[in-house]
Amino acid sequence: MSFLIASQVLLWAAVLVLGVVCIALARQVGVLHQRIAPAGALSLRQPLKIGDPVPQLSLPGLDGTTVQVGGVRGGRSQLVLFLSPDCAVCEALLPSLRSAHGAEKNWLDIVLASDGEGDKHEAFVRKQGLSRFPYVVSEQLGRSYGVSKLPYAVLINEAGKLSATGLVNTREHLESLFVAQERGVGSIQQFLKLRGQKRASSGE
């Protein structure tokens, strides 16, 4: 029996070491989270404000269909991603966009938007395998959202109002728009402002 007790003591000691190692690892992950966070899409000056109704536009898609951008669309949100075939960052973002398209398909539709020559865009869609996304080429659309830098994303909620918007360079930036809509903030700047106010009020 003393052998069993001794083995139990050793096993619990091993579990304790394992637990401490797990805590150390989890703390490291937490520290990394704190150092990189908050990683959100940078909101630029724009004609529309968060919560404003987005003008409803019917635009011709690259495949000949009509694409509705904005407005109330049967309880679904819409992400309009402005990109360009010449933009390397836009190209790097596409795998994340495809992933988000699959993961968020229950509530979100994605529309790609650009301007310029149609042929260039058709080649871009073929090369990148973007035929599953509606693709509109419209300068008017970019102007109405005040897009000046790419890639730029605009998230329109199910009520047809501007929910979140910003410059998106990475998957974290893209997902920050979805989280912003879920938490009811419009941009990283607004989140930081609210967090500062909350900390000041609680005296932390």
Binding site: M1, S2, L4, I5, A6, Q8, V9, W12, A13, V15, L16, L18, G19, V20, C22, I23, L25, A26, R27, V29, G30, H33, Q34, P95, S96, R98, S99, A100, G102, A103, E104, R171, E175, F178, R183, S202, G203, E204
Partner: protein, 198 residues
Amino acid sequence: MAASVSISAVLELVEIQLACFLALLLSVAALHKMFWRSRAQRAASELTGLAWRGAGMAASLATVSEIGAAGLLAIPAYRASGALLAASIWSVYFALIARSIVIGRRDVDCGCSFGAAHRPLGLFELLRCASLSLLAIVVAALCFASAGRDGASASLAGAGSGAAILISEALAAAAMLALYAALDHVMALGPLRAGEIR
């Protein structure tokens, strides 16, 4: 006959180890509430809907209850009462968290994590309270069962040297608390959204 003695000894060992773990956890939780009083008060206010003054009293009551339950769990004669008090405390926390989720306040910081970070209230927070409450009920049931057996302590005492058993119990409680703390740290991190990048 020898087998029944061994089972009694094992059950008693499990009861003491679990009781030590719960007592340790309650003590740490009470200390956490004392050191970070404003966080505990805010959590009490948001979870119960009480005004700031009332929330302060509720946080104090929770702290005193946790210290009381930990103390009772540490004393063999009052272990069952301590376990039942601990089960009641976690049941109340479960009800308050469930209420917050039902009324759509998932953003509330329940003060359940040892670190400053917290994630939105959800299934994990409910499961944690339910599991701890269940564990406390198991300890109470084991206490009642051992009280009904004759010579249960003698069976454990006869199983090995007292010092070795004491070390085993202390290590087990510390190890379980370390695993709990590790899980707490991991679950306090923001969950990743679904979708693999291909």
